[in-house]
Amino acid sequence: MSQAQSSAIGSREVLRLSVNGQDRELLVKPYTTLMEVLREDLRLTGTKHGCEAGECGACTVLIDGVPKVSCLVLPAQAEGTTVTTIEGVANGSTLHPVQQAFMDAGAVQCGYCTPGMVLTAKALLDTNPTPSEGEIKQALAGNLCRCTGYVGIVEAVLHAAEAGRALA
């Protein structure tokens, strides 16, 4: 399909960023979202898409440690940043304490919101290791979940915070 391939080539620009600890250099269309870059160019499909309009939080990644919906981030905004996706959270095959807490509290059902939830919770605990239940709900309010009723997720983040305190 040589005829077909040519159509995909429009104007492209270089995007340099660090993803899960590795420096990456990519050629991308200027209007491609970071979510598409992660999922389609880097095949990091743990970043989920649920709406592509910044409404559901499923595509949340950490940009310089701050949770952002990657479907609303354009390459120019991601240039030079440090991005953490769900694939970069565990330490090898050892789950991060937030992931472990989600597993133990039954905070995962269909799992589609889980990457965004874990990353948002991790960012919260990185900046506030002892959040109240109210602070947890506020921090995660932009991430929708249709399975759990959020109850198990709040419990998981509280447990993760406790586990973090025990380590400290």
């Binding site: 309009a53 789950l95 059902q109 589609y112 990457p115 109850v151």
Partner: protein, 797 residues
């Protein structure tokens, strides 16, 4: 209680002997989902994939006069364009609803109805090509409401495949017992009218499908809850033998009933894969998912009940009118479900049900969590509250006087076995302090009960295959369980692994699972009607016990003892490590394979027309108390707490059960607080996750989950369902709590602030203090079919 010989008897297992069943264990699929490793359908991308966009109707109702795809076809990057002439065969989930074409080329029936599809090198190109397709439409009168659909259409009916009249899809009129006599004897009679607006599943994952066609073998990976039914529909539409089609349910990002139908995009990617020889993929946008819908039907309801002086129900007459949207889907079943399960909570000695489903020019409705029963449950529970108030009886007491008893048959011939309705009532009332509640201004509490099926007693199409089958294979020491059941997030993979592990002395993560795959796993009808734990769980139990027997036999021989002396636990079969026992058995018999099946007993319901909807091998029971505050100036509800007691039979995994209860409570609260699939001029009022008002962390209240174990005589280890039941009582309990708080009734779901304020305004004007539909439309119901009472019916027991 008769047991068929093939069903395992959970009573053989003493309560304390279960090692892992019932424990709050992590899900077997948790690590993959927590690390991003799990592949959902949209995460599958094969080399050389073409991407599909579907052109959809902008009109709610129109004739298609012509479709010109020539410009689209000539565009660079476009591999193929198809229309209805490439997929002319009609399909639908039920044998009686074969009314959809994957691409419509004669007529469109809702905004979003698919008309043409483009496969191109990327989505952007496919979308541009879709825009280049010229379709000439002749708009027709759009039908937008139940009332309008009941009039004769000014242009033409939406469908000509059905008998009508007009836009009527399905009618039902059934009577059990002597209803007129019951009303004659009644001391007190009350009538109410209710409306339940439609709403949608809003699974986080958008539907996605990828197909390949290589060497006469078609493979489809899809976000589907029902791979078996998709398999059948593909065979029909593509005219391919079943043996040349493999449907794989990928990991599913939430279903709730929204991925139970065979869908247009599934047919389209398969046809395009066959045409192009390339992998072809289509992922719906969020807006397309809102129009794919198949969600909760809007239902108008009228109910009349007669009670004696003690509040005992003597007769009930229940009428429903369902807005089905544009296609049949599960509609005939949905219609009957609005009348079937009133009798599984209350002993109604004489019961009359009349139902109608109409077509409208809106996205097709279908099954959503509770399928056709949350709407009448809302109406029934609020109606009983009103009766209790009128006759001066406590609402809980009124219900208690009418509760069904275990091991009985309802007036509509449904077999009730284990039944924890008394216990779940006691537990929520006690835990919440409902009886002694002290109210502050604007504060209210509401109570309601419900029940739900543990799997439909009959398949969607007539066949005599088992409803579920499992094959367990042990090879080189490893265990693999094959089952068609599909984990949609509810945890069915974990249930199957737990059952197998319990029987084989292993841990759930020791069991490799091949599920939801029609190419490799035996049949399971799918993840709907809360059937998987009960049916696939029983099939897995049977297969696992056979395997255990083989391994124990070999170990006993090796140990020189009798099989009854061989203990199976902690990775050991007697003195042998599991792997050693397995290898020893394989040396003797070759690869080890056992098979388990589940077919429901044949005597679950009646044999009248319509009796196929409602029967189930068991019913779960739930009771809820909701505590809330309402601001009488703004009408805003603040949810404080929900207590939900659920008769689970027995938990296979108590952590997963708790999660399902909490999720069901959440979804019920969302429906009553504001979720609505509402339309204006054929367009969805808000097809986005921002406009569609689901609850966030901030609105979700505390949930106290109370599990009651009644050990069902036929469930695996006594287990029953939890996926759907706990949603049901939450909705009426909120409406009841609002009444408790402000003294007004909102007889319409969702119970939004504007409706509360209108009801308060009504009260201030000295009227009833009610917001809701004023009347029920005139429906040409057919002649009442009087069904003989169970006593007179031929019994197969």
């Amino acid at each position: 209680m008769t047991m068929t010989t093939t069903q395992p008897d959970p009573r053989l297992i003493p309560d304390g002997d279960l090692r892992i069943v019932g424990k709050p264990l992590p899900r077997v699929d948790a690590v993959g989902k927590l690390t991003g490793a799990t592949a959902y359908a949209d995460d599958i991308e094969l080399p050389g994939t073409l991407f599909v966009k579907i052109l959809r109707s902008p009109h709610p109702h129109a004739r298609v006069l012509s479709i010109d795809t020539s410009s689209a076809l000539s565009m660079t990057g476009v591999a193929a364009v198809i229309t209805g002439s490439d997929l002319p065969t009609k399909y639908g989930i039920m044998p009686t609803t074969q009314d959809e074409q994957a691409l419509e080329n004669e007529k469109v029936r809702f905004v979003g109805d698919p008309v043409a599809a483009v496969a191109a090198v990327d989505e952007e190109t496919a979308l541009a090509a879709c825009r280049a397709i010229r379709v000439e439409y002749q708009p027709l009168e759009a039908i937008e409401s139940i009332e309008q659909a009941l009039l004769m259409p000014s242009d033409e009916p939406i469908h000509d495949d059905y008998a009508g009249p007009g836009n009527i899809h399905r009618l039902a009129a059934l009577e059990f017992g002597d209803v007129d006599e019951g009303f004659t004897k009644a001391e007190h009679i009350r009538e109410d009218v209710f409306f339940f607006e439609g709403n949608t599943h809003l699974a986080m994952e958008q539907h996605s499908a990828t197909a390949t066609y290589v060497g006469d073998q078609l493979t489809l990976w899809s976000s589907t809850q029902t791979p078996h039914y998709v398999h059948r529909a593909l065979s029909k539409v593509l005219d391919l033998p079943m043996g040349h089609i493999r449907v794989v349910a990928a990991a599913i990002g939430g279903g709730f009933g929204g991925k139970c139908d065979p869908f247009s995009h599934e047919m389209v990617v398969c046809r395009l894969a066959m045409l192009t020889g390339r992998p072809v993929k289509c992922t719906l946008t969020r807006e397309e998912v809102f129009y794919a819908h198949r969600g909760r039907h809007p239902v108008l309801m009228w109910v009349r009940t007669g009670v004696d002086k003690d509040g005992k129900i003597l007769a009930m007459h229940f009428r429903t009118a369902l807005d089905g949207g544009a296609y049949g889907s599960y509609g005939p079943a949905s219609t009957l479900y609005t009348g079937a399960l009133q009798t599984t909570t209350y002993n109604i000695p004489a019961y009359r049900f009349e139902g109608v489903r109409v077509f409208t020019n809106k996205a097709p409705c279908g099954p959503k969590r509770g399928h056709g029963t949350p709407q009448p449950r809302f109406a029934l529970e609020v109606h009983l509250d009103k009766i209790a108030q009128e006759i001066g009886l406590d609402p809980v007491e009124l219900r208690r006087r009418n509760y069904v008893k275990p091991h009985t048959r309802t007036v509509n011939q449904l077999r009730i076995t284990s039944c924890g309705i008394e216990e779940v009532t006691d537990r929520v009332v006690q835990a919440s302090g409902f009886a002694d509640r002290i109210r502050r201004p604007g504060h209210g509490m509401g109570f309601a009960v419900s029940s739900y099926m543990c799997g439909a007693g009959l398949p969607i199409y007539w066949n005599k295959m088992p409803h579920s089958e499992c094959v367990l294979q042990v090879s080189r020491g490893g265990v693999t369980l094959f089952c068609g059941a599909t984990d949609i997030g509810q945890g069915s993979d974990s249930v199957l692994a737990t059952v197998a592990a319990e029987e084989l002395g292993l841990w759930p993560t020791d069991i490799r699972l091949v599920t939801g795959d029609t190419g490799f796993a035996p049949v399971d009808l799918g993840s709907y009607s809360s059937r998987v734990t009960f049916m696939a769980g029983n099939a897995a139990l049977m297969a696992a016990r056979k395997m255990r027997g083989i391994l124990v036999g070999v170990a006993a021989e090796q140990m020189g003892c009798s099989p009854s002396e061989v203990e199976v636990c902690d990775g050991k079969i007697g003195e042998l490590a599991f792997e050693d026992a397995a290898v020893l058995a394989q040396e003797r018999f070759g690869v080890l394979s056992t098979h388990g099946t589940y077919t429901p007993p044949s005597d679950l319901g009646g044999s009248f027309r319509g009796a196929g909807v409602g029967p189930s091998p068991a019913y779960s029971y739930s009771a809820a108390v909701v505590d809330l505050d309402v601001d009488p100036r703004s009408g805003e509800i603040h949810l404080n707490k929900v207590w939900l007691a659920h008769d689970i039979g027995r938990s296979i995994n108590s952590l997963a059960v708790k999660g399902q209860v909490e999720g069901g409570v959440y979804m019920g609260l969302g429906e009553v607080m504001g979720e609505a699939q509402a339309y204006r001029g054929g367009l969805h009022k808000g097809p986005s996750m921002l406009d569609y008002r689901s609850l966030t962390f901030l609105e979700m209240p505390e949930v106290d989950t109370i599990l009651v174990e009644t050990l069902d005589p036929e469930g695996p280890y006594g287990a029953k369902e939890v996926g759907q039941g706990p949603l049901l009582p939450v909705i009426p309990a909120v409406a009841s709590a609002v009444h408790d708080a402000l003294g007004v009734w909102v007889d319409e779901v969702p119970v939004t602030p504007d409706k509360i304020l209108r009801a308060l305004d009504d009260l201030a004007k000295g009227r009833q203090g009610r917001f809701g539909p004023k009347s029920f439309p005139v429906v040409p119901y057919p002649t009442m079919y009087k069904v003989a009472l169970p006593d007179a019916a031929p019994t197969k027991l």
